[in-house]
Amino acid sequence: MIRDAAGRFGHTPALIIVLCAAAAVALLSVASGAYPLAIPDILKVLGGREANDPVASLVLLEVRMPRFLLGFLVGAVLAVSGALLQGLFRNPLADPGLIGVSAGASLAAIMVIVLGSTWLGGWLAFAGEWALPVAAFFGGSATVFLAWRIANRDGQTQVATLLLSGIAINAIAGAATGLLTFYATDDELRSLTFWTMGSLGHAGWDELMIGAPFMILALIVSPFLARPLDAFLLGESVVGHLGYPANTVKKAAILVVGLGVGAAVAVSGLIGFVGLVVPHLVRLVLGASHRVVLPFSALIGGTLLVAADSLARIVVAPAELPIGLMMALIGGPFFLGLLMRRKVV
């Protein structure tokens, strides 16, 4: 049967189901929106042939494809980052927001939005349309670097200190964001609010070029951390006993999360719940080994975000809902349902 002796789903059937779901969601995502595309047209364009509808090719290649790819990458990176941090902190409630990455990135982005016309005019003139994503990326990376410096003592990374400094950084960034919100004009307030609700609306090949290298790097590096992260689940000392370089693993994981989430927030704003819910779901169905949790989190996280993005475009078409709201609306009740049905942790 498809369940193994431990009552878990077999990996192969699970992989087949997830890949089918991903393919279906991918088609739905590129087909739906303000200008619906016909499935035969999509397949023709992807096959390199001329579509019946001449606009279809343009919409698909210039709008929908980059948006789909970016959404999938962002979802995958957020879910994998959640899984990495949960393993590292040995806490199933850890989330990329926890160590302050998202807060740092969003503060930088909001600074660009609100101060772009005054103090940061030079930066805006220099970076042009890339000003916001690049600033968000550096904001996120700088926050991780700061938290990391604080948590490192005598060559050891203190995980508890990292968590506490994350809380402090979140508070500081939250206050600074509040201050900027207070002084923002109505227009700035509007774009700021949309940004904090998360959106893939700006997705294009340019955004993909900025964010993708870091996100792909994060996804490539993370599987190498799977075995030592399994050892982390037994305690930090056990990692060393089993012969893994605990400090190197910690640093690599933090760096991967910092770069990946920094890049994800830079191109899509704040999108919650993926990092928390997806690894939970995978553990519930397939077990807690990171060799399973990391790849499946990437696949399911990507699929889920793309699905949410499609839905966000369909429900109020031709307008679209912010995807961060969509995720929270779907993820929140879903998570509560899990909690009520059985013990999640």
Binding site: A6, R90, G235, G240, H241, G243, Y244, R283, A288, S289
Partner: protein, 271 residues
């Protein structure tokens, strides 16, 4: 010589917790560390397991610990911590397999089966570790730790910090017999912290008694488990009976201070 410890001291936050310890452990020898709470036993074990920095020399098979590659050392030195908390849904089999070196795909690992059978956890194989009792979890961790070094060639050192503390009496015997057999048949060297004096008397080749960070005395069970040593180290009165099986039995007669406190209530008020 599997392990040679020369003048080992451990300083934590400016306080010397372990002071000038010297130890020699031969292949196949079972040495048990005794001593009151806070005597420095766990700190010594943590220094030997690479968790704490120390002063002095520790050599395994004639080679300083620092000269071993971490992954290589893991195949020759296995450590069972006092407590391992598992909060994630890992199965018994998954946790035991973590100790095993990577095997070729799809090839069943017979050592995992063997250890799980010997430690009486084979029937728990697909159960989630967080749902097991303390004693069952302890046996799972021990299986993981034993699997780490069991089939390595060369010197092997097993460091155990109270590996039987949560076990019922019959499983204590079972676990100690497994450890003893592996030591004698495979030449694995065992250094174990134990609080049960009778378990130590029954299974140890040699006892090392620590007090206030120092080695108080060492020797066979008959030499170490005496009235004077127990009185000096634990402040503990006991009857020591020599058993025909060849090891002493220690029967506690209560600690003097507790008797005083219960016999005279005003004593407790005064303190």
């Amino acid at each position: 010589m599997t392990l040679r410890v020369n003048d080992l001291s451990v300083l934590l936050g400016g306080v010397t917790i372990v002071r000038e310890i010297n130890l020699m452990l031969e292949a196949g020898e079972i040495v048990m560390l005794l001593g009151p709470n806070g005597a420095g036993k766990s700190t010594l074990l943590k220094a030997l397991s690479g968790e704490l920095p120390f002063q002095g020399q520790v050599a395994m098979a004639g080679r300083e610990l620092a000269d071993w590659a971490p992954s290589q050392l893991a195949r020759h030195r296995a450590v069972m911590p006092q407590k391992v908390d598992v909060n994630f849904p890992l199965t018994v089999e998954e946790v035991v397999a973590m100790g095993r070196p990577r095997t070729s795909r799809g090839k069943p690992d017979t050592i995992i089966d063997r250890l799980m059978t010997e430690l009486d956890i084979a029937h728990l194989r697909y159960r989630m570790v967080p749902g097991l009792s303390g004693g069952e979890q302890q046996r799972v961790q021990l299986a993981r730790v034993l699997g780490q070094i069991l089939d390595a060639s060369g010197p092997r050192l097993l460091l155990l910090d109270e590996c039987t503390s949560a076990l019922d009496p019959s499983h204590q015997q079972l676990v100690m017999e497994v450890i003893q057999r592996l030591a004698k048949e495979q030449g694995i060297t065992v250094l174990a912290i134990v609080h049960d004096l009778n378990l130590a008397a029954q299974f140890a080749d040699r006892l090392v008694v620590m007090q206030a960070g120092r080695c108080f005395c060492e020797g066979g069970a008959h030499d170490v488990l005496t009235h004077s040593v127990l009185k000096a180290v634990y402040g503990y009165r006991a009857r020591i009976i020599s058993l025909p099986e060849g090891y002493p039995l220690v029967v506690p007669l209560g600690s003097g201070s507790a008797q005083m406190a219960s016999g005279n209530p005003s004593c407790r008020q005064a303190s």
